[in-house]
Structures are given as structure tokens and as C-alpha cells.
């Protein structure tokens, strides 16, 4: 029988993978992709909790929906910024934009 624990564990693993990607990727596009995985892990957690524990309100489902929306918005802006980074720096790696240090 599938339980909430299964889904939460999967979500946590996805989150771990996403975090790993955010920290290890050097291409900023890949970093954004990892952020996507993080967001999806969160959405999955919301949706599964909603499905198992909150049958009346659907708030979790709606939340998952909004996470998807926010992800789309975030990504479009992120990519637009990366495009500008590419135009100004010639690359989209963390080395290229590491000039803001204290």
C-alpha cells in the first residue's frame, strides 16, 4: 500500500538531488534546472499531503498548481536574465559572473 511516507520520502530525495544540482552545477542554466527539480519536489510534497490528509479543502493541490505557476514565471525571468548575462559576459557559467565579490 502506498502511503504518505512513500511520497514524502521521494519528495525529500528529489529535493536532495535538486540541492545537489544547485550546489554543484557551474552552468547557470543547469542551476535553474536544478531549482526546477526543487520546486517540483515541493509541489509533489504538497500534492501528496493534500491527497492523503486533506480530502476536503484541496489547498495542497491548489498550492502545487501555484508552485508550477511560480516556477514558470521564475524560469522565464531567469532565462531572460541569463540571456543578458550571455550578451554581456559571453558565457553563462558561474566563473563568468563571479566579479561581485567583497
Amino acid at each position: 500500500m502506498v502511503t504518505l511516507g512513500h511520497f514524502l520520502l521521494l519528495s525529500g530525495l528529489l529535493m536532495a538531488i535538486g540541492l545537489y544540482g544547485v550546489l554543484t552545477r557551474r552552468n547557470l542554466i543547469a542551476v535553474l534546472m536544478s531549482v526546477e527539480i526543487l520546486l517540483n519536489a515541493a509541489a509533489l510534497a504538497f500534492a501528496s499531503v493534500a491527497a492523503f490528509r486533506d480530502p476536503s479543502l484541496f489547498a495542497g493541490q491548489v498550492f502545487a498548481l501555484f508552485i508550477i505557476v511560480v516556477a514558470a514565471a521564475e524560469l522565464s525571468i531567469g532565462f531572460a536574465i541569463l540571456l543578458n548575462v550571455y550578451r554581456t559576459h559571453g558565457a553563462v557559467t558561474d566563473d563568468a559572473i563571479g566579479e561581485m565579490r567583497g
Binding site: 544547485v22 550546489l23 552545477r25 559572473i97 561581485m100 565579490r101 567583497g102
Partner: protein, 667 residues
């Protein structure tokens, strides 16, 4: 449908006209925007005359035959319409189903009469402007402004709710600002519009305070409530007097009473029809009208004496100053201040109906005079009476109509000003003998400067203007402060021949001349004080004994004739008389240095606290800011090493922060 039911269209139509002209005025060809605005005002005039007819039919105590027959008791006893005074009410600003502040149109005889006056005067000013403003760059805008100005005044007059009055009053203030600065490229016009706006706004504070105080006392803004006995009993004498005084301050600002008259002369920077509008139909009349409406409150305490003294002083002060001016519009402006002083004097000495009568009469003859001066300026291309060249010869129509207005202003029978001014003087004689003398002196000076203006402008050939020459050459310090004398108006081009104005301008002048005559008769004893009987709000006007009446008439006429005769005698011989010393001329032209005094005194008053505040700002506020900056500098010298520029490192910090929160128990 009666005109009463249509009355809300009276302010609404010009407002709609304003919207129309603002939106589409630019795309209308030629003078059509002016004609549209005039047509709107014509409709409004018809509506307001119809309203007046309805009111005459409905008002109690109005029976022409009986009045002519002299049986006042019978005339007053005759019952009018039970609905009178008429009242139209709309729900407005209702909050959660409560009544809120209703939109009320309140039509008693006074409102109807003043509405008709405003509509008619405004109509003729519109008509005159069609020709006068021709060729102006913002022609449609001008008419749009005129429309809204008229709309605001009409709304103010018809308002049965003081909150609603306040709104209209403020719109009027705005429109006066916009119209005075209509020729906004002139620096002087900009200064004048600011001055007018700030002065009247300052005074408006009194209106607002009085109004809100009144609201605290009686719980609504309704006009009808104000007049009732219970209300007055409820308020108490002291509070009533205070409220009345506050409102009177607002009226002083709007109606240019000493010492808040300072804006009016500068307001001459607006185009001449604007001056006519402000001086005759709208702005300044509003103050008198408002005071008239608050009269029940003014009857308490000694407020009326304040009103009377302010009015009398203003009347005299302005009339004395006027002869020192060469600019025809400024002379007329002083005459307006003076005549408004008369109205307040009338109000102050219990001559309520007389003051209202004078308001009406003055509106027509002052509109006539201003439009006449506009015609003169248009034809002669100058505002300086010394530079006008025998205008009687070139502009006969303007001359004769202007003369009618001038005779009315001087108070020569049988013109309007005679009947109304005389009633005020009668009231003054009865209640305040000294003020009566002041009024008579003012009447003398009025006749004097009016005659001087006519003689020099219409009868004498052009000559170099002595005032203008002084302004250009002396460069005295007193010339640099105020806006107006610093840059005298340009002289007419070399060899310019004055010419008569266009047909519609003449038509407006003629109509106003006829009205100046008619209105006077309507309020005269010849017709049984018909107008006064109609508008009177309390007991019947006391009919003066014939002997006393005649004595007053003869005195007034003789004083006026004396002033006129002296002026005619002097100025026909030598336009530059009397050769006053420079300091006197300067003092008179600088309006007795009142403007400068206000400027300096108020400026000093306002600046004094700012020095203290500046010190506080420099040594307390700035020091704190500097401290914060220094602290953050110190802190950042350590923290800046955390900023590595590597994206992944930041992400790691974030994660460690989240972990710390988790470990710390935030879940």
C-alpha cells in the same frame, strides 16, 4: 415639467460643456467652441429665468399689484406655494445605508435670483469672449474653463448642503487659479495665479473649520437647518458667533475684503472676460452670498460689527487707492473691492436685503464695465488710460454702454447702483452713523475715480503715461517686489488707430447695459421694492418714510455729483492732476505697502521656526544617520569576506541558515 424639476441641469449643463470642450475642443474649427459654450449658457439662462418665474409665482408675499398699491400687509399675507422653498434631494456619499451627505438643491427666492444673475452675466461674458479671445492659442480651453467656472458658481448658489457648497467653492478657487494664469507664459500671470490661489485657500480654511464645527454642533450640513430657530437654540450664541466669524473669513478671502484683498488686483493678469467673470458673476459674489446664507449665525454676538467695519474700511480704502492707478482694469478692480465692501457694510448694518440687491445690481454693471474695458483694450491695444486716444470718437458704442455702467457705479439716478447703494447707506445711517459717513466718503471717491477714468480714456488724446515712465526709469526697490508694476503692459504700436469692437461684443455690452437699468428699477421703491420683498428671508422690509428716503437720495446723489464734478473739473483741464509727491504715489500704487508687509511678515513668521529645525536636523538627525553609516562601514569590513561572488556558495549559506533555523526549533 416645471423649471424647478429641471434645475439640476443648470449647473450640470455647463459642466457637461466643460467635459465636451476639454475632450473635443481642440478639434473644433474656428470660433465654434466659443459659440457652443455660449449656446450652453443661453440654455442655462433660459432655464434659470424659468426657475425665477416659478419662484416668483410660488413665493409668499409676492403680489406685484398689491406691492405697487402699497399694501404690504396684504401682499405678505398672501400664501405662496406650500412647497416653497423648493428642495430637490439625491442620496450621495451614503455609507452603509445611512443617509450620509445628501446632494441637495435648495431654491428659495435668493437662490433663484442669484442663479438668474449668474447665468445672465455669464452668458454675456461668454458672448463677449467669442470675439475678444479670438486668435488666442488655447481658445477652446478658455471656454472650457469659463464653463466649469460658471458651473461651479451655479452649483454653489443652488447648493442646499454646505458640504456641496464647499466643493463648488473649491472648484471655483481652482478655476480662478487656472483662468488668472490663463496666459501662463507671462511670469506675472503665474505669480498672480499663485497669489490668488494661496490667499483664497488660506481664507477657505475658515470655511472648512466653520463648516466642520457646525457639523459637530448640529450633525448635518443642511442649509435649511441653519435658519431654524431650534438649531440656533441648540448651538448657543458663542459657538454661532465663532462659526459665523470663521465663515466670514472665508468670505473675506473670496470677496477680497481687507486685509485679504491682496490677490484681486493681481488677478487682472487674466484676460479681461475672466476679470469680468470673477468680479461680477462668480468668485467675489460667492463670498457675499455665503455670508448672506450664514446670516442667522452672524446675528449673534458682535460679529455683525466686525462685518460692518471690515466692509466700510474696505470700501473707503479701495476707493481712495483707485485714483492712483492708470491701468483701466486695476481701477475697476479697486472699484470691485470697494463695492464689495459696501455689500459687507450693508450686511453688517442689518441691511441684508439691501446687500443682496447691491450684489445683483453690481454684478450687472460691473460685468458691463469690465466687458467695456475689454472692448477698450481690444480697440486701443493698451490698458493704460493715458495712452488711450479719444475713444469716444472711435468707439461710440463702447462709450455709451460704458457710461451707463459708470453712472450705475457712481450711484447716479436712475441707474442700478443708485438704488442699491442708497438702501445700504440708509441702513448704515440708522444703525451706525459713523459708518454711514465712511460710506458717503467712499461714494465720493467712487464718483471721483470713475469720472477720472472716463475723462482721461474717452475724451483726452493719448499721452505718455507718467506712471509707466516712472516704473521704467526709476527702478525703485518698491517696484521689484510685486509682480505687476515691474513689467508695465506694452504701449500700443506706433500709429495705432482705435476701432470699434465686433458685433457680438457690442451685443453683450448693450444687453448688460439694459439689465443694469432694469435690475435697479426692480428693487427701487418705484416698484415697491419688488426684488427685496421677493428675497427677504425674515420679516417684511420696513418701508422708509418718504421724507427720509428722499433726503437719503438727495444726499447720495449730491455726494456722487460732487466727486464726479471735481474729477471732471480737474482732469478735463489737466489729466496729470493732482501732482502728488512721489512717496504718496508710490505708497498708493504699492497699495500702502500692504502686500510687502504680508510678504515680509508672513515670511519671517514662517522662517523663524525653521532655523531651530535646521539646527536639530544638522546636529541630531544627520548625526544619527552618520552614525548608522559608520556602524555599517565597520560591520561590513568583516562581513564583506562572506561575499565570494560564487553562486553556489550563497546557496550553501542559505541552506546552512535553513538548517540552523531547523535545529533552533523553527518548524
Amino acid at each position: 415639467m416645471s423649471y424647478v424639476e429641471l434645475s439640476y441641469w443648470i449647473p450640470l449643463l455647463p459642466a457637461l460643456g466643460f467635459v465636451l470642450l476639454v475632450l473635443f475642443g481642440r478639434s473644433l474649427p474656428g470660433r465654434s467652441s466659443g459659440w457652443i459654450a455660449t449656446a450652453v449658457m443661453a440654455v442655462v439662462a433660459v432655464l434659470s429665468l424659468g426657475l425665477l418665474r416659478d419662484v416668483i409665482l410660488a413665493a409668499p408675499g409676492w403680489d406685484l399689484a398689491a406691492l405697487l398699491g402699497g399694501n404690504h400687509e396684504e401682499a405678505l399675507a398672501k400664501a405662496g406655494s406650500p412647497d416653497f422653498p423648493f428642495r430637490l434631494e439625491w442620496t450621495w456619499l451614503a455609507i452603509r445605508g445611512e443617509a450620509g451627505i445628501p446632494l441637495v438643491i435648495y431654491i428659495d427666492a435668493l437662490a433663484a435670483v442669484v442663479t438668474a444673475m449668474v447665468a445672465l452675466a455669464s452668458l454675456f461674458i461668454h458672448l463677449f469672449s467669442i470675439g475678444y479671445m479670438h486668435g488666442e492659442e488655447r481658445y477652446p480651453t478658455f471656454f472650457a474653463y469659463l464653463q466649469l467656472f460658471s458651473a461651479a458658481m451655479l452649483a454653489f448658489v443652488l447648493a442646499g448642503n454646505f458640504f456641496h457648497s464647499l466643493l463648488a467653492w473649491e472648484v471655483m478657487g481652482l478655476m480662478s487659479y487656472l483662468l488668472i494664469g490663463f496666459l501662463y507664459k507671462k511670469k506675472t500671470a503665474q505669480q498672480a495665479q499663485k497669489k490668488a490661489f494661496i490667499t483664497t485657500k488660506l481664507a477657505d480654511l475658515g470655511f472648512m473649520l466653520g463648516l466642520f464645527w457646525l457639523y459637530l454642533l448640529i450633525g448635518n450640513f443642511d442649509l435649511a437647518d441653519l435658519a431654524s430657530e431650534q438649531t440656533l437654540a441648540l448651538i448657543g450664541t458663542g459657538a454661532a458667533a465663532a462659526v459665523g466669524l470663521l465663515v466670514f473669513v472665508a468670505a473675506m478671502g473670496k470677496s477680497a475684503q481687507f486685509p485679504l484683498h491682496v490677490w484681486l488686483l493681481d488677478a487682472m493678469e487674466g484676460p479681461t472676460p475672466v476679470s469680468a467673470m470673477i468680479h461680477a458673476a462668480t468668485m467675489v459674489a460667492a463670498g457675499v452670498y455665503l455670508t448672506g446664507r450664514f446670516y442667522p449665525l452672524l446675528l449673534h454676538g458682535e460679529v455683525l460689527w466686525v462685518v460692518a467695519w471690515v466692509g466700510a474700511l474696505t470700501a473707503l480704502f479701495a476707493a481712495v487707492l483707485a485714483p492712483a492707478y492708470a491701468d483701466v482694469k486695476k481701477i475697476l478692480a479697486w472699484s470691485t473691492v470697494s463695492q464689495l465692501g459696501y455689500m459687507f457694510l450693508g450686511l453688517g448694518v442689518f441691511g441684508w436685503a439691501a446687500a443682496m440687491f447691491h450684489l445683483l445690481a453690481h454684478a450687472f454693471f460691473k460685468a458691463l464695465l469690465f466687458l467695456g474695458s475689454g472692448s477698450m483694450i481690444h480697440g486701443a491695444k493698451t490698458q493704460d488710460i493715458f495712452e488711450m486716444d479719444r475713444l469716444k470718437k472711435y468707439m461710440p458704442w463702447t462709450y455709451w454702454t460704458f457710461l451707463v455702467g459708470a453712472l450705475a457705479l457712481m450711484g447716479i439716478p436712475p441707474f442700478a447702483g443708485f438704488w442699491s447703494k442708497d438702501l445700504i447707506l440708509h441702513a448704515a445711517e440708522e444703525h451706525a452713523r459713523f459708518l454711514w459717513l465712511v460710506g458717503l466718503t467712499a461714494a465720493f471717491f467712487t464718483a471721483f475715480y470713475t469720472t477720472r477714468m472716463i475723462v482721461i480714456a474717452f475724451h483726452k488724446p493719448a499721452m505718455p503715461s507718467p506712471w509707466k515712465a516712472a516704473a521704467w526709469t526709476q527702478g525703485a526697490p518698491w517696484l521689484n517686489l510685486g509682480p505687476n508694476e515691474a513689467e508695465p503692459d506694452p504701449s500700443p504700436p506706433e500709429g495705432h488707430r482705435p476701432h470699434e469692437s465686433g458685433a457680438e461684443m457690442i451685443a453683450a455690452l448693450l444687453a448688460l447695459a439694459v439689465l443694469s437699468l432694469v435690475v435697479g428699477f426692480w428693487g427701487s421703491p418705484v416698484f415697491g421694492y419688488g426684488l427685496l420683498t421677493l428675497v427677504y428671508w425674515g420679516d417684511a422690509p420696513e418701508l422708509l418714510p418718504a421724507a427720509k428716503l428722499m433726503a437719503g437720495y438727495v444726499t447720495g446723489t449730491l455726494v456722487a455729483l460732487a466727486g464726479a464734478g471735481l474729477a471732471a473739473y480737474w482732469y478735463t483741464a489737466d489729466p496729470l492732476r493732482p501732482r502728488a509727491p512721489v512717496w504718496l504715489t508710490a505708497a498708493l500704487q504699492r497699495r500702502l505697502y500692504l502686500d510687502e508687509f504680508f510678504y515680509r511678515a508672513l515670511g519671517a513668521l514662517a522662517q523663524a521656526p525653521t532655523y531651530a529645525l535646521e539646527l536639530f536636523d544638522r546636529y541630531v538627525v544627520d548625526a544619527l544617520v552618520d552614525l548608522v553609516g559608520y556602524l555599517s562601514l565597520v560591520a561590513s569590513s568583516f562581513l564583506r569576506h562572506l561575499q565570494s561572488g560564487r553562486f553556489a556558495v550563497y546557496a550553501l549559506y542559505m541552506l546552512l541558515g535553513a538548517l540552523a533555523l531547523y535545529v533552533g526549533g523553527v518548524r
